[in-house]
């Protein structure tokens, strides 16, 4: 009985994915299920469509830039929250985690107005800044857990052994935060790469990232190209999570609280 419930639940959660992957191999130009045959043509279409190529490059730049900025900022924020003797630590924590509860439309509108005021509407910089704000809560959360687990005596020990505060940070603190940093990296990449609503507000044809380009495509065409691209997206995310679990021990990251 219990096994059946679990099976139903798994089916319910994976069915949309299975359908999308199946449709992506449909040889005809309609989004129908079950597929009428097998073909790679939509995958060829994905890889040769210029707007997707441009968007993929944008995605790489935006996600790469945002993650590169959010990781150090989030790490310092997590350290400050735990160690900084802040006046109102709970308030600071709530503010840092607040983007999680702000509707995407509101955030997008806000960034749009700010970008217009700053005259940066045609720049990818706005996208990067927005993505930093959007992934920061995930980074702070993940690193914070590792900071909480860090024994301050270890840093005292390092100081007694002659290490300067900088050396302590790089030889002791940072290596011990590694599990949290890996989790943060993974979350940040996944969140940024899949972000759509806010990015839609602040990008144009030249700067748009993949999810926005996919949306634009669906608005105009209804062939399985989009299913093929979605399948690639799913595959990439799956491989990423699998690698993280395999080499970094994702289970440890989540179970260490």
């Amino acid at each position: 009985m219990l096994r059946l419930v679990v099976l139903a639940l798994v089916a319910f959660m994976t069915l949309p994915t299975v359908v999308v992957i199946a449709v992506s191999f449909n040889p005809t130009a309609i989004l129908s299920f079950p597929p009428a045959g097998f073909s790679w043509r939509w995958y060829v279409n994905v890889l040769t469509y210029p707007q997707f190529q441009r968007a993929a490059l944008n995605s790489l730049l935006v996600t790469g830039g945002a993650v590169a900025l959010a990781l150090p900022i989030g790490t310092l924020a997590a350290l400050a929250l735990e160690r900084g003797r802040l006046r109102a630590p709970n308030l600071w924590a709530a503010l840092l985690l607040s983007p999680l509860v702000v509707p995407g439309v509101a955030a997008g509108l806000g960034f749009l107005i700010l970008a217009a005021a700053a005259g940066l509407l045609r720049s990818r910089v706005v996208l990067i800044v927005a993505h930093v704000a959007l992934v920061l809560p995930f980074v702070v959360r993940s690193v914070w857990v590792s900071v909480k687990n860090l024994d301050p005596t270890l840093e005292r020990a390092a100081a007694s052994l002659g290490a300067t505060p900088w050396r302590i940070f790089f030889r002791v603190t940072l290596p011990l935060l590694r599990p949290g940093l890996f989790a943060a990296l993974l979350f940040a990449v996944v969140v940024s790469a899949n972000e759509f609503v806010v990015s839609l507000f602040i990008s144009n044809r030249v700067t748009e990232i993949l999810p926005v380009a996919m949306f634009s495509y669906v608005v105009n065409y209804t062939d399985p190209t989009i299913a093929a691209l979605s399948s690639l997206f799913i595959l990439t995310t799956f491989v990423l999570v699998w690698l993280a679990d395999r080499y970094l021990g994702l289970g440890r990251v989540f179970l260490q609280h």
Binding site: R156, A158, S160, L161, G162, A163, T164, L176, R178
Partner: protein
């Protein structure tokens, strides 16, 4: 007289309204093993942290080799510290843990290999270089911590309850080993502990602390046999404190119970009110009345194998603790009236609050 290595001058450390260390003066001498002994909250660990540079004093000065190091950060003090929790770096191997201080001192690779091997040999951990701390037992981890703190030949070794996390048998082994290593290296050592047996067994001198102050500083035998205050008499070993009134230079009336002769190192003034401590193992069962013999009624008996712990009440209501070595010279029972001989030199005169001893 030996040279002073570490000196605290009027050091005070406040945490909000709490004065953890209160105008403390202390001089640690070259090569000695000095224990800071006291109950939790007495300020012993704060005193160690002041020396290590982990906390700064709110008042007073700290000198190392005559040089004022007050306010100097821990990493510039060149001391070795061993923590109760070991505080080994979990992401580094045993070798890298021990090498940590050498790398910070930019010692060459070959020199590091040689010194780490030496330090690990000193604590008998050869062959464990490539293991992680988590793969070692508690006792081994503590030995790694000791090697890590000794490898760069620090001026002073600071030990913060290093044995407290070990189980009893291992603790005794490590205690002997610690003493042997300290002797062979000849390093000036400050040892924080709440365990009086450890302090008595290891130290050249003991500073007994209470409420951020040193109650008494002296050799183990001196502190045990001549406790300066009631606190010291209570904290180190068991003792009974009897109130009495001097009847002459060496005669004291213990309440209404009896008058006894005492030898406390000074002449008493007749009429003086006194607190006299006596160790339970110094009292002996006596066959009957005699000189320095008191009569008491047994109130409690706890058989402990090698000895029986006995509580008895004197005629005036004062209670005494007595250890009777087994087998006892006579059968004992609660409610029985017995006689105890109190040797004159077993009495220890305690300072009374507000009066000088």
């Amino acid at each position: 007289m030996a040279k002073t290595v570490v000196e605290l001058q009027g050091c005070t450390r406040e945490y909000g309204p709490v004065r953890a260390v209160d105008a403390l003066d202390l001089a640690v001498l070259e090569g000695e093993f000095l224990s800071l002994l006291g109950p939790s909250g007495c300020g012993k660990t704060t005193t160690l942290n002041l020396i290590a540079g982990f906390v700064d004093p709110t008042a007073g000065r700290i000198l190392i080799d005559g040089e004022d190091v007050t306010g100097r950060p821990a990493h510039l003090r060149g001391l070795g510290v061993v923590f109760q929790s070991y505080a080994l770096f979990p992401h580094l191997t045993v070798f890298e843990n021990v090498a940590f201080g050498l790398r910070e001192r930019r010692v060459s690779g070959a020199e590091i290999d040689r010194k780490v091997a030496e330090a690990l040999a000193l604590v008998r951990l050869e062959g464990r270089e490539r293991q992680r701390p988590a793969e070692l037992s508690g006792g081994m981890q503590q030995r790694v911590a000791l090697a890590r703190a000794l490898v760069y030949r620090p001026r002073v070794l600071l030990l913060d309850e290093p044995l407290a996390a070990l189980d009893r048998k291992l603790r005794e082994e490590m205690r002997d080993e610690l003493r042997a290593i300290q002797r062979s290296v000849g390093i000036t050592t400050v040892f924080v502990t709440h365990d009086q047996a450890e302090a008595l067994g290891l130290s050249d001198r003991i500073a007994v602390m209470s409420h951020g102050r040193i109650e008494q500083l002296g050799a183990p035998r001196e502190v045990y046999e001549r406790p300066a205050t009631r606190f010291v008499a209570d904290f180190i070993g068991a003792s009974t404190v009897l109130r009495g009134t001097a009847r002459g230079a060496d005669r004291v009336a213990l309440g209404g119970a009896a008058t006894v002769q005492v030898a406390v190192g000074r002449a008493l003034r007749a009429g003086e009110e006194l607190d006299l401590a006596i160790r339970p193992e110094r009292l002996r069962l006596a066959a009957g009345p005699g000189d320095n013999v008191v009569e008491a009624r047994i109130e409690g008996l706890v058989y402990q194998g090698a000895q029986t712990e006995l509580t008895a009440r004197l005629g005036d209501g004062q209670r005494m603790l007595v250890f009777v070595v087994e087998p006892a010279p006579m059968p004992l029972a609660v409610g029985q009236t017995v006689h105890f001989h109190l040797p004159a030199d077993a009495f220890m005169l305690l300072a009374r609050a507000g009066a000088s001893a």
